[in-house]
């Protein structure tokens, strides 16, 4: 009897010790976080820098002691601008690498292909790019802009006196879900402003399209009708031939301004911007924004690029999706600290109402219900040095409307994140 209890006590203490041992082992362990960006293919021009920015932010967090006392360990995969591969790689990250969170995707088509995987395995994705809205998954946090935080204000600006008072609109995009949905919203918005269908032209090109001769000639023809603006949702490296062709055919911003939703400092690095001065881009952040947080952010990035010997490090620039990546990772880290866990459900709860002092100069808040950030809107003009100068901005951050009121039936959708919404 006595012996038996002794054995019991012994096993208990042994198992306790083993537990303690496993605890201490885990403390030395790391938290794995996934980075899912195309490092090759047509989207590499935009996404490569997001991967590097994510690595820099993780270094920064690790230098301050990590999250909940554990270091973050990045797991980088390359889905190669191949949409089904995005789904495969995210499944690999969630099931094999068992990452706590994934930061990634640029195009909406890639996000749409990983969405079922994240909802099935209850993963957590931070999506850092502006997009078309119409989505609120409990497994995704959207740190880019929804249409009312980018597209709609940009079109309003073009219609205003300062923006040139555009009467006709040429909607040019890459052929996939983001440009098509955005243009659907914009068409409905323009109708509400009294613009007729004959004054709206929609044209789509495939990913990686390189010959814009005919399209630019058509824009020119279309613009003879009345003051015209081009709204470009062209994504990836097609932007380079498009802008070169604009310069070639002498289409100046004073005649036909082009406002782009997916062109930032990074994409302009491959182009001589002197003939493009005055063309516009709408974002929630520009590198040229002047405030102490941004100065530090830009300086850190330049130093990081130089230290890591990234290609073209001497001309390293920051842009909006990089800022959104930076903000997203920090917010996740804060939430994980608050929840004292990296469990997806607990972190999700802790993320609601999380705030962060962002390089855009504003303190950004994660909305309590809709998983989107409250963001300021800025419209910038391209300068001859490849930077943007802000010509218009909102006075304070706007709450996102992921379900645009300009799409019929959206008023019946819930305004909170739920599966299949």
């Amino acid at each position: 009897m006595k012996r038996r209890s002794l054995i019991k006590a012994f096993t208990l203490s042994a198992s306790m010790a083993a537990m303690g041992l496993s605890w201490s082992l885990q403390a030395a362990e790391t938290i794995k976080v996934g980075i899912l960006h195309s490092l090759s293919g047509t989207m590499a021009i935009s996404e490569t820098s997001l991967k590097d920015m994510a690595l820099m932010t993780i270094d920064e967090i690790n230098a301050k002691g990590g999250v909940n006392g554990k270091m973050l360990e990045p797991v980088v995969v390359d889905p190669a601008s191949n949409w089904p591969l995005f789904a495969e790689k995210s499944r690999q990250l969630l099931t094999q690498d068992k990452v706590a969170v994934v930061f990634g995707c640029w195009t909406s088509v890639s996000r749409k292909s990983v969405l079922p995987v994240f909802e099935e395995l209850n993963g957590l994705l931070f999506y850092p790019v502006q997009y078309e809205g119409e989505e609120m998954s409990p497994n995704v946090f959207y740190t880019g802009a929804a249409p009312n935080q980018q597209a709609i204000p940009a079109v309003e600006y073009l219609m205003s006196e300062d923006g040139g008072g555009a009467k006709r609109f040429f909607l040019l995009g890459t052929d996939y879900v983001y440009p098509r949905t955005t243009n659907k919203i914009l068409r409905a918005f323009l109708h509400s402003k009294g613009v007729a269908d004959k004054d709206i032209e929609e044209v789509y090109t495939p990913f990686g399209h390189a010959d814009y001769q005919t399209i630019v000639a058509n824009i020119k023809k279309f613009s003879a009708g009345a003051k015209t603006a081009v709204i470009s949702t062209v994504n990836g490296d097609s932007n380079v031939p498009f802008y070169k062709e604009l310069a070639n055919q002498g289409l100046k911003a004073t005649d036909v301004p082009v406002v782009a939703f997916s062109v930032g400092e990074e994409e302009l690095r491959g182009i001589d911007t002197k003939p493009l001065v005055g063309h516009l881009a709408a974002w929630n952040y520009f590198e040229s924004v002047d405030n102490p947080v941004n100065q530090k952010f830009v300086a850190d990035w330049k130093a990081y690029a130089k230290a890591k010997g990234l290609p073209g490090a001497d001309k390293a620039v920051t842009n909006d999706p990089m800022e959104a990546t930076y903000v997203g990772i920090h917010m996740w880290a804060q939430a994980a600290e608050k929840a004292k866990s990296t469990d997806v459900d607990k972190v999700r709860e802790a993320l609601a109402g999380q705030t962060f002092k962002a390089p855009s100069g504003y303190t950004l808040t994660m909305d309590k219900t809709n998983h989107h950030l409250h963001k300021p809107v800025m419209i910038g003009e391209i300068q001859d040095d490849g930077q943007f100068s802000v010509v218009w901005e909102t006075e304070q951050p706007l709450r996102a409307q992921p379900c645009s009121p300009f799409i019929p039936g959206n008023d019946k959708r819930p305004d909170y994140a739920v599966k299949g919404n």
Binding site: A44, Q213, A217
Partner: protein, 414 residues
């Protein structure tokens, strides 16, 4: 004392100039727009320098403060500048100014244009001014003035004239039936001219795109025709050429910035040599062992293409690099109001023709060409006659790579 007063008088306009700049800098955008409109209607020769500086985003050459401009202000500055340049002594400057005013003139400028039109000595400038004036006179109260303006607009092939004339067809816009009929005739005239420009433009873009594809296809045709190698790495040859062009640009920029304008001329032989060298090396090391086995060459060249892509990605990164257009290759010739032939496209077409001609000469007029043709037709027989088929293969491979490369030059400039 008198001298002092005179200097003061001389200094006065300069002082007012400076203060006008200061005033502009301090004003709100709406006020700046109003100011530019006034300046456009009443040009003064002394203000020219200020406007030129404003166009460059500053108020004086030695002033570092940046003037914040938007597209609307830029357009108004262009318009005001054109107004001022009408006062120039140089007839070419006046012509350019009149052309700008055709696009941008405002009703407030009618009086100015009228005056300049009456006193203009140069016939071409006078005609351009007449058109600019006609655009504005469409809204005049006197029907005879409107009629004359409508008739004049019919003479142009300007795309904007079409919209202006179309607006006149509505009875509520134009009350006078004779003017309406004249507008209809003019509109038909304008449409005809626009059609010509459009057709020519389409033909030209087809030609320029075709010439680039021709250059790329020429290389493929020779490798496949001569060696029977299906070269999956052909696209990567183009890439190598493009990156060597970029490297030449970087080197020239660093060591001889003065010669930057002419770097494409240096890049051409360099890119040719680089890819011809890589091509020959690969032929000697890989492809030579696989002749007569089309499937294996297909796989091997595909593998080479992957290796080359990754190598370049490691060296240069996935981001685009900039190969800039030198000044002499940007811009174009304005043939018709709606047809511009860009210089770079013209150069590409000329270049494609030259390469085709050279290839023809090489194949038909040189000993190497004779050997190449002999090997293509009957490899064994050619070898029997003492043609070193291996050498011919290598040279042909290298040359196609080189040629492919030169075509990429054109790609990058367009």
């Amino acid at each position: 004392m008198l001298r002092f007063l005179l200097t003061l008088l001389l200094l006065l306009p300069m002082a007012s100039q400076a203060s006008e700049g200061e005033f502009f800098l301090a004003a709100k955008p709406a006020e700046q727009a109003r100011l530019l409109d006034t300046w456009a209607a009443q040009p003064e020769p002394g203000r020219l320098a200020l406007l030129e500086n404003l166009q460059a985003g500053r108020i004086a050459k030695d002033d570092n403060r940046k003037v914040r401009l938007n597209n609307r202000l830029r357009g108004l500055i262009d318009n005001a500048l054109a107004s001022h340049r009408l006062l120039s002594d140089d007839s070419a400057t006046r012509l350019a100014a009149a052309r700008q005013l055709q696009k941008s003139a405002q009703p407030a400028q009618v009086a100015l244009l009228d005056r300049r039109y009456a006193s203009e000595p140069d016939a071409a400038v006078r005609a351009a001014l007449g058109l600019a004036l006609a655009n504005l006179q469409l809204g005049a109260s006197d029907p005879s003035v409107r009629l004359a303006a409508v008739r004049l607009l019919g003479e142009t092939g300007d795309p904007t004239a079409r919209t202006r004339l179309e607006a006149l067809l509505q009875p509520e816009m134009e009350t006078d039936p004779t003017v309406r009929t004249a507008a209809e005739t003019s509109l038909a005239q304008v449409k005809r001219k626009l059609l010509v420009g459009e057709v020519l433009g389409q033909a030209f873009s087809g030609l320029s795109l075709g010439s680039i594809l021709l250059l790329a296809a020429l290389g493929l045709a020779i490798t496949f025709g001569l060696l029977g190698v299906i070269n999956m790495a052909h696209g990567e040859m183009l890439m190598l050429g493009a990156y060597s062009t970029y490297m030449v640009q970087v080197v020239v920029q660093r060591y001889a910035p003065g010669a930057l304008e002419f770097y494409p001329l240096i890049a051409l032989p360099v890119a040719f040599a680089v890819s011809a060298g890589v091509g020959m090396a690969l032929e000697r090391t890989v492809i030579r062992h696989l002749y007569g086995r089309p499937l294996e060459t297909l796989l091997a060249t595909w593998g080479i293409s992957l290796i080359l892509i990754q190598a370049v990605r490691l060296l240069f990164g996935a981001q685009n690099v900039e190969v800039s257009n030198p000044a002499w290759l940007s811009g174009g010739i304005q043939v018709l109001p709606n047809l511009i032939l860009p210089y770079n496209r013209l150069v590409i077409i000329a270049f494609a023709l030259a390469v085709v001609l050279l290839t023809w000469l090489l194949l038909n007029r040189t000993r190497l060409g004779l050997n190449v043709r002999a090997v293509t037709q009957n490899r064994n027989m050619a070898a029997c006659c003492g043609v070193s088929t291996g050498r011919v293969d290598m040279l042909a491979f290298g040359r196609t790579w080189g040629k492919a490369t030169s075509s990429i030059h054109s790609w990058w400039w367009c």
